[in-house]
Assembly symmetry: C2
Homo-oligomer: 333 residues x 2
């Protein structure tokens, strides 16, 4: 690996390795997103699917298949499948509930699109389903059906746990498994399955994806309080304003005295937020060192992800997956 | 068939024949609807799934399997599958768009449930997907994946065609195939597929379900203008108030002179509806005999459904399916 590569981020290195496959994935996505009867579909999805995201999930599938010695093109189908499922969940996440309107955040345009978001998401999910059927692997279908159920269950759980100070770290973990890790682990596992990799390897690929997904989401939640807006594109405090019980807040609530608890009840449970509350919330997290503790949790999951790689063959992609895990957590280091 | 049976409606006769199977379907639905992590899920779905609807779609699957000589319990899994898909689409249809709010129809409670409706619908869809994977039949998965895509595409098409006077009878037919017929035809076809019925029979079962579904939806749209509210539970004119381009209106628009066209533009395209407009709309449909023409179309589809049954074996269930087709259209005769 030359000097030039040292400065290249892990996902960019992977994108370079899988350049041809990713081009095929993008072409397949464009082909299957099209609808003869309903031109609105590509309109709604274009900004999501074509925006040239990092294609992290599809790359995980391509990497797992490559590492497992796969030869064929089902990896491309499955990479497109996981991207469609991801995009469908994004669309469904966009659906606005009353609380969002009550806080005056939703625009008329957003609302008008509620129904489009739902139905186009359903369309993408159906397209994903068709793509996986084309692989002819019942095991792949089983994995992705189970992942889909975990995703949906996690989303509902997040909805019911929202604004509830009784939310525990266990519940948070279940939510995170649903909203992020289930698709990561399915993406890596199916890559091994289509390559007919030994059971110990498909299990290792699952474990890697699971731990990476959890670490990734914890970091994301941490960045909401600690991130550099310019670098991450996220606004500091969005989760606080949306009254989401993420790990740094759950830990702060657990450590709260009576006065602090009243603060969390007012701001998170009742949603009565005033100027200076975000600063106060962050000050409480610093006082109880919950941001550091959350970062330690993320690091532990990333370590688990890397440990999971041990049973996998010695292969350049294995190192890329390890580097990717480090990179995920480096965002907040 | 005894005298007592003569008074029994076809779907009740089928429910009697499939009593044991339907009990198993209901038990399976209750079992798979449950969520260890998210108790809101059964809460949201209970009123839909347990309300004891006619279970028309599950019965079509049971009937098709029985008629094809199927022995086993995959018919029960697939019957629950189609009911879950049906319920998921109902939940997603419930999502409110801005226009509904603008007209002041949506209550706060309805809105609060937007997000629940979406996510619980996704959960049911995933559960359906798991159930069909359990049948181990890639052909069944292919049929239901294609049906799901047709359903989603039809829903998006309906959204974009809404309030558009340029909507043709062809577009209406595509929408109806998506919103109703795709699941009917998949329900009957998979019943034949799991029984390993000859190709000509699975094709006949598909054709029957397709034509029955189209006839069923046309009758439903007709009842919106011609029904007896007490008998159907539908309010006359709901579709008109929601500015839906259903067949009786499409035919009336096609026959409209300049003054009538202005009326449709004002009431449907602009949504400016006043007292007496519904009566005027119905008067125009009578003037152009579009309700009669719509009924004739429904009768033609029902005749096609019955004709499709010809290649199927001589079996008591075949007559029940023919009677069911007649019953569907008898609702408006």
């Amino acid at each position: 690996m030359g000097l030039d590569h040292a400065a290249i981020k892990p996902h960019e290195q992977m994108a370079e390795r899988f350049d041809g496959k990713l081009t095929a994935v993008n072409a397949l996505i464009a082909e299957r997103m099209a609808s003869r009867h309903a031109p609105r579909i590509p309109q709604v999805t274009a900004h999501l699917v074509e925006a040239g995201g990092k294609r992290l999930r599809p790359m995980l599938t391509l990497a797992a298949a490559d590492l497992s010695g796969y030869v064929g093109d089902h990896d491309v189908r499955l990479a497109a499948t996981v991207e469609f499922i991801h995009t469908a969940t994004l669309l469904h996440d966009d659906v606005v509930d009353e609380s969002a309107q009550r806080r005056g955040r939703a625009t008329a345009n957003l609302l008008w699109d509620n129904k489009s978001s739902v139905l186009v998401g359903d369309y993408l999910f159906s397209r994903a389903f068709q793509l996986m059927v084309e692989t002819g692997s019942l095991r792949v279908l089983d994995i992705l059906a189970n992942a889909s159920a975990t995703i949906a269950e996690g989303e509902v759980l997040q909805l019911t746990a929202a604004r509830d100070l009784a939310t525990t770290e266990d519940i948070y973990l279940q939510v995170v498994r649903g909203k992020t890790a289930a698709l990561f682990s399915a993406a890596t596992e199916v890559g091994g399955v289509i390559a007919a990799a030994p059971e110990v390897q498909t299990r290792a690929l699952f474990d890697y994806g699971d731990a990476l997904g959890i670490g990734f989401q914890i970091v994301d939640d941490l960045l909401d309080f600690r991130g550099d807006t310019a670098a991450t594109g996220k606004n500091i405090g969005d989760d606080f304003r949306e009254r989401k019980l993420t790990l740094p807040i759950i830990k702060a609530v657990a450590a709260a005295d009576a006065t602090e608890r009243a603060f969390w009840q007012r701001t998170i449970e009742k949603g009565d937020q005033r100027d200076g509350d975000l600063e106060q919330a962050i000050a409480l997290m610093h006082a109880h060192r919950t941001l550091d503790a959350t970062q330690a949790d993320a690091l532990a999951w990333i370590a688990r992800a890397k440990d999971a790689l041990a049973p996998l063959p010695d292969h350049p992609v294995r190192q890329m997956l390890a580097d990717l895990a480090d990179y995920v957590v480096a965002r907040v280091s």
